[in-house]
């Protein structure tokens, strides 16, 4: 019923658009067809349970929670770890249920699901028409971790590449796949590089607990290493490390003070943003030292995700981890809180559609 209503509303809206266009004498530009209800907005994925995806339009006027369930009348499995985007598709990864649900990223209509060949999948990256998915394997087995290679035309796992323990985030650059090994249920300190033509791997040793990565404007791989926490019994410092991707060597390491363990990093307009102890810091990606003063104090929330886009900072608050979370939007021109939206349970990732 809801679907039918949506279709009707969509058709009406579309009809109006066409009608209004046809009355327009100015034919210099043909308005782009809307690609779906969830275009031009922010997607916030929530680990759950229940897992969910929320949509907030770029102008903040439309907010819709549970968009996957609303469109497809089924639930995503726990825990929604991340979403990867390629072409018109979004790949929604639920780790405990070993599933990637493939949807149209703008309509969120389900196209298929990948349910075999995955084992605690975490993140997906794309290169050469293939998807590369990091898998932790069993929590009690340190040597069964792998990268699943997905044939994106059939959405099946075509091969697997064994890697070190706890492969986490994945990014793609110039036909290579970079995997940070946070360590899964343990700790690790490597980056695996996969040549997607041969599927051969090399590893780069970095500092402990590498997690978030990006390629900066100079073409370097920047990695946030969180360092081993105090409770591990062998605490190590966190760093931001830069890697020369032609030689696969660490060229620069910025050390955090002992006891500081940043957990989110985002890059935008040549700047690096990171969060530590509920404070957000910013630095130029060419800077050789870490900033001393933060730009935003997030207060007493349970920060669970962060992203920066344009002049906005987006932060999720997981509250008590057992209720609906918030997405807080800060204006980075004034560094003040601008908006708060209710999102899903344990909301952790923010994407721009």
């Amino acid at each position: 019923m809801k679907k039918q209503f949506k279709f009707l509303a969509f058709t009406l809206f579309f009809g109006l658009l066409i009608t209004s266009c046809s009355n327009d004498d100015d034919n210099s530009s043909i308005p782009q067809e809307p690609l779906g209800d969830y275009e031009n907005g922010i997607l916030v994925s929530a680990e759950g349970g229940p897992s969910s995806v929320s949509y907030i339009s770029n102008d903040f006027s439309t907010v819709e929670n549970n968009i996957y369930a609303n469109v497809n009348t089924e639930e995503l499995g726990v825990y929604l770890q991340s979403i990867g985007f390629d072409g018109n598709q979004a790949y929604i990864i639920s780790d405990n249920v070993n599933t990637i649900n493939v949807v149209n990223r703008y309509t969120f209509a389900k196209e298929t699901a990948i349910t075999t060949g995955l084992y605690t999948p975490r993140y997906i990256g794309f290169a050469n028409g293939k998807g590369y998915v990091s898998n932790w394997g069993s929590g009690s087995d340190a040597i069964d971790d792998f990268i699943a290679v997905i044939d994106l035309s059939t959405n099946t796992v075509e091969s697997t590449i064994p890697v070190g323990e706890g492969p986490e985030q994945i990014i793609s650059n110039n036909g290579k796949i970079y995997v940070s090994h946070k360590g899964g249920w343990s700790f690790n300190n490597i980056i695996t590089v996969i040549d997607t033509n041969t599927n051969l791997t090399t590893t780069i040793t970095v500092n402990d607990v590498p997690d978030e990565m990006f390629i900066n404007n100079s073409g370097e791989l920047v990695v946030l290493c969180e360092g081993k926490p105090g409770w591990s019994g062998s605490e190590t410092n966190a760093t931001i490390s830069k890697i020369d991707v032609t030689t696969n060597t660490v060229t620069e390491t910025l050390n955090f003070a002992a006891g500081v363990h940043p957990s989110q990093m985002s890059s935008e307009n040549g700047e690096i943003y990171y969060q530590a102890n509920n404070e957000v810091f910013v630095m130029s990606e060419t800077s050789s030292s870490l900033p001393t003063a933060s730009i935003v104090n997030l207060g007493t929330i349970n920060t669970y995700g962060m992203a920066v886009k344009g002049d906005k900072l987006y932060v999720t608050d997981a509250k008590d981890f057992a209720s609906l979370g918030d997405l807080n939007v800060y204006d980075l021109t004034t560094n003040t809180l601008e908006n708060t939206f209710t999102v899903g349970v344990n909301a952790s990732k923010i994407y721009f559609n």
Partner: protein, 621 residues
């Protein structure tokens, strides 16, 4: 010498002193024996506090046909026959109770008087207890930490074996087979003479548990389970004054954990628990002395992938020494002192070998003055692991004639931090305090020939609730929540017979508010309403019964978001039975469960089975 060492020394002295008393009493007591009746009523019950110091709180005892008509899990028995609410991850899967709106760790399960909640998580999984090994299961509502120790905040469940004498040979066989290839077997064999009593019981329960979900094309996958228990209980009357008893119990079970999505990795869980207790009762005139020595082991293995041999585990061994001595001060007054020492040693995949010793002293007094009765108790524990509060309980009872009784009870109770809370690698917090509860209740009991009715209002204030919260990238247990629970529990029983037609109706209803004082919101998975009803009609050898369970809606998110609730459900079962044989020693029965095919879940997305059937045979000889 620091305070703790001092306490320890005092305690040691106390124990020596008490041991001195018992030996001198047993050797030199020349006082004439109290009545034999006292021996039978008090000494032969394994869990004496249920009789002696629980007068002002409500106790419901389930036995005989109520047990044989129930499925073998403790969850099913209590779900249909008590005020306790259960949260079950699908049929037969992990099951946790909420008693009077409290958490699973705030309900004690006691085996023949000994608290058997897990050392690791502080609770009992009610689907890992098979009721066929016990003679009676009692439900004691309200605080009982003074008597049963940590966790007796919402109430306690008592699994008891009675040691009977002078009954000759007694055997029984119970067999039940039903839908989803579910098998439930129990065999008991016993012999007792004037001096000796011996009983052995074996039970086994297993199920493919692959039921179809109601109104869905999905099936419960990876839900199979089995468990088997052996118990052996012996009693020996050394002489008119001394009785020695030995209780033994071994449980072995394996469960797969069912899927919500078929693509999940199959997991399973194995339990191996043993319980042994040696008890020596002595009646020395006005003194009754009981020495208990118990050894409990628990061992679990969790397979994160059933297809792999790799598992994580936890193993704990607990040695308990307990001595209690009661003294009949006057004819209607009793003074009792209890000393116990519990020594636990545990380790696991994520817990280094850790030992803890807890000693406790209790003093109890009870007196009856005409229609008035009061009971008072104090307990203090001494341990180096946490600061232990002084626990107390005070109960008053007044009988307004034959038919109407009023009880008032107030107590302070606690739940101590578990092994996981204290010692989990990297997370354990050794600075935790016990959760404490102050509670009061008032009960009204009406008893007539064919009708009895009780209603109890309660209020419970629970502080320092332990919850695991993130501390940086890690999760750690902290004393955080302050919860208030209050409500009403009621039971009604009606009996009527007309010649050979016997009718019985029983019902329970509980109204429960359980809220976080900070947010003023109801706790998740605590229904405001729960009710049960049974109707039983017996004509000669035939019996017909109808059983129904109502559970109100529950919130699944702590913000009480109305979009995330589980709907209320009403589940009903019917059964028929017929007794054969000269002595009616054979009973044949058939049951239809969930006869209206209700589609329900007690945990989100954990669907329970629709209509299903079973047949049973009970043979006593």
């Amino acid at each position: 010498m620091n305070l703790r060492e001092k306490d320890f020394k005092i305690m040691k002295k106390g124990i020596l002193f008490l041991f001195g008393i018992i030996f001198s009493l047993s050797c030199f007591s020349q006082t004439r024996l109290d009545s034999v009746q006292q021996l039978d009523e008090v000494v032969l019950k394994s869990d004496k506090f249920l009789k002696t110091f629980s007068n002002t709180q409500s106790i419901t005892t389930l036995k005989d046909t109520v047990l044989s008509r129930s499925a073998p899990s403790l969850t099913q028995l209590l779900n249909y026959n008590s005020n306790i609410y259960f949260k079950e991850n699908g049929l037969g899967m992990v099951s946790s109770p909420s008693f009077r709106g409290t958490t699973a760790q705030q309900t004690v399960v006691a085996w023949n008087g000994i608290n058997i909640n897990s050392q690791f998580n502080g609770q009992t999984d009610f689907n890992t207890i098979n009721i066929r090994n016990f003679d009676a299961v009692s439900v004691r509502s309200g605080g009982g930490s003074v008597l049963y120790g940590s966790g007796a905040i919402g109430g306690s469940i008592h699994l008891n074996n009675d040691i009977a004498f002078n009954e000759g040979f007694k055997h029984s066989i119970y067999a039940n087979y039903g839908s989803f290839n579910t098998l439930d077997l129990g065999v008991k064999s016993g012999f007792s003479s004037k001096k000796i009593s011996a009983e052995i019981a074996i039970s086994r329960s297993s199920s493919d548990n692959d039921y179809d979900y109601v109104d869905s094309d999905k099936t419960n996958l990876n839900g199979a389970f089995y468990n088997q228990s052996v118990s052996a209980n012996f009693g020996y009357k050394v002489n008119a004054k001394n009785v020695i008893k030995l209780y033994s119990y071994l449980y072995d079970g394996e469960r797969e954990f069912s899927f919500i999505f078929p693509s999940e990795t199959p997991t399973k869980y194995q339990d191996l628990n043993s319980r042994n207790m040696l008890e020596w009762n002595g009646l020395y005139g006005k003194f009754i002395s009981t020495l208990k020595l118990a050894y409990l082991t628990e061992h679990y293995k969790y397979f994160a992938n059933s297809n792999s041999d790799i598992y994580s585990f936890g193993e704990a061994k607990t040695l308990i020494g307990k001595y209690d001595l009661s003294y009949r001060v006057f004819k209607d007054a009793m003074l009792q002192g209890v000393v116990d020492i519990t020594n636990t040693s545990g380790e696991g995949s994520s817990i280094g070998e850790s030992k803890r010793t807890i000693s406790s002293f209790s003093l109890l007094y009870k007196q009856e003055i005409n229609s008035f009765l009061y009971e008072a108790a104090l307990r203090k524990e001494i341990t180096s692991n946490y600061d232990s509060p002084l626990l107390y309980s005070l109960g008053l009872q007044y009988k307004f004639g034959e038919n109407y009784t009023v009880n008032v009870n107030g107590s302070k109770n606690f739940r101590i931090p578990t092994y996981n809370d204290l010692y989990w690698e990297g997370s354990g917090n050794t600075n935790l305090k016990p959760e404490t509860s102050n509670q009061v209740e008032m009960g009204h009991q009406l008893d007539f020939k064919n009708v009895s009715f009780s209603a109890t209002g309660f209020y419970n204030d629970i502080k320092d609730m332990i919850r695991w919260l993130p501390a940086g990238s890690n999760w750690q247990p902290v004393n955080t929540d302050h919860v208030e629970t209050y409500g009403l529990e009621s039971t009604l029983d009606l009996k009527y017979h007309l010649k050979e037609h016997q009718f019985a109706i029983g019902g329970t209803y509980a109204y429960t508010v359980s809220k976080n004082k900070e947010t003023d919101l109801q706790l998740i998975y605590v229904p405001k309403h729960k009710g049960t009803a049974t109707f039983n009609y017996q004509y000669n050898r035939a019996a017909f019964y109808y059983q129904t369970l109502y559970v109100g809606e529950v919130f699944t998110l702590s913000d009480n978001n109305p979009k995330y609730i589980l709907d209320a459900y009403l589940v009903s079962n019917i059964g028929l039975s017929y007794a054969l044989g000269k002595e009616k020693q054979f009973t044949l029965g058939a049951q239809i469960k969930n006869m209206y095919n209700e589609n329900y879940q007690s945990v989100a997305n954990r669907f329970m089975p629709g209509i299903n059937y079973n047949f049973y045979l009970n043979f006593n000889f």
